[in-house]
């Protein structure tokens, strides 16, 4: 969706925090949120793209102002309520009024530790030839969709060239709607000068990973 989360190229947020401390979490509750998220048993209908879309639906002012892991909490809370696993009242009080559906045995501590390091894979076998070839000119479609998409707003309608073929990957747009569809993924190189007035006259490039259905031939 065309929401506040699509921050690429947006200006006015001040300097980047170059001296941000190196620790992975800035507070104990953040580590706890991360641990809960990685280890919780969940309905099989939840996936990363549906979760990301639920994050995009956070109120824009909250999205910009609240800490990153607070967004995780809000997104999971919304999914819990949406699936009827908890009510807003239960989340607000911190006490369940009824036992939820059985989702399986909770993880042990050692399973949880292993889980943190378990990679999730979204690449899939490529079962047809990619539509576009290396070096071919392509244009990012001018439209995204009102659900989840990973086509950045700043690239829409812009022309680039295929710089790498990346095999086949689960299309996030469909995955967020509960459908697994794999498509060829390309790294497309855009001339920065075609995207931003600041880059006029430079040879700088922006490389973006884009799914086949985000593109049309030039």
């Amino acid at each position: 969706m065309d929401g506040t989360h699509d921050l690429g190229g947006r200006q006015g947020f001040g300097p980047v925090g170059a001296d941000e401390p190196e620790e992975p979490f800035h507070a104990d509750w953040e580590a706890r949120m991360f641990g809960m998220a990685r280890t919780m048993k969940r309905p099989s209908t939840w996936n990363i793209d549906w979760w990301r879309h639920s994050r995009e639906l956070i109120d824009p002012a909250d999205y910009l102002l609240r800490p990153y892991f607070d967004q995780w909490m809000q997104a999971y809370a919304a999914l819990l309520v949406d699936d009827g696993l908890a009510t807003v009242e239960e989340l607000a009080s911190g006490h369940a009024k009824a036992r939820g559906p059985a989702l399986g045995t909770p993880m042990s501590g050692s399973e949880a530790k292993r889980m943190v390091h378990r990679p999730f894979r979204y690449d899939r076998p490529l079962n047809r030839a990619p539509l576009y070839q290396l070096g071919q000119g392509v244009r990012a479609k001018a439209l995204g969709n009102s659900g989840h998409t990973r086509l950045p707003g700043y690239a829409r309608g812009k022309a680039g060239r295929v710089a790498h073929l990346r095999g086949s990957h689960v299309l996030p747009d469909a995955s967020a709607r509960g459908q697994e569809v794999a498509e060829p993924l390309y790294t497309v190189a855009f001339l920065a000068a075609d995207l931003w007035p600041e880059a006029a006259g430079r040879k700088d490039e922006i490389m973006i990973d884009l799914w086949e259905s985000y593109l049309e031939p030039l």
């Binding site: 980047v16 190196e22 979204y122 990973r150 990346r166 995207l195 430079r202 490389m207 990973d209 884009l210």
Partner: protein, 74 residues
């Protein structure tokens, strides 16, 4: 993605105009990591000595690896 030279300057890295910049905007399928450019004067160094030249910012692409002379002053 928009003002790479300005952001790098905020990290204290000013690149000459002769260097073209490629920005990798990962949409999460592919992850990328930075391999810092090998500083001059490190020919024949082993992995352990080279690793001492690599800082946190060198690994996130906002600084060059230390030169042998800079390592002396750290």
């Amino acid at each position: 993605v928009r003002e790479p030279r300005g952001v790098l300057a905020e990290f204290g890295l000013t690149l000459p105009e002769s260097i073209a910049i490629r920005i990798w905007d990962s949409t999460s399928e592919q992850r990328y990591f930075v391999v810092p450019e090998r500083p001059a004067g490190t020919e024949g160094w082993n992995e352990e000595r080279l690793a001492r030249l690599v800082t946190r910012n060198a690994m996130v692409g906002t600084a060059r690896a230390l030169s042998p002379a800079e390592l002396e002053t750290v």
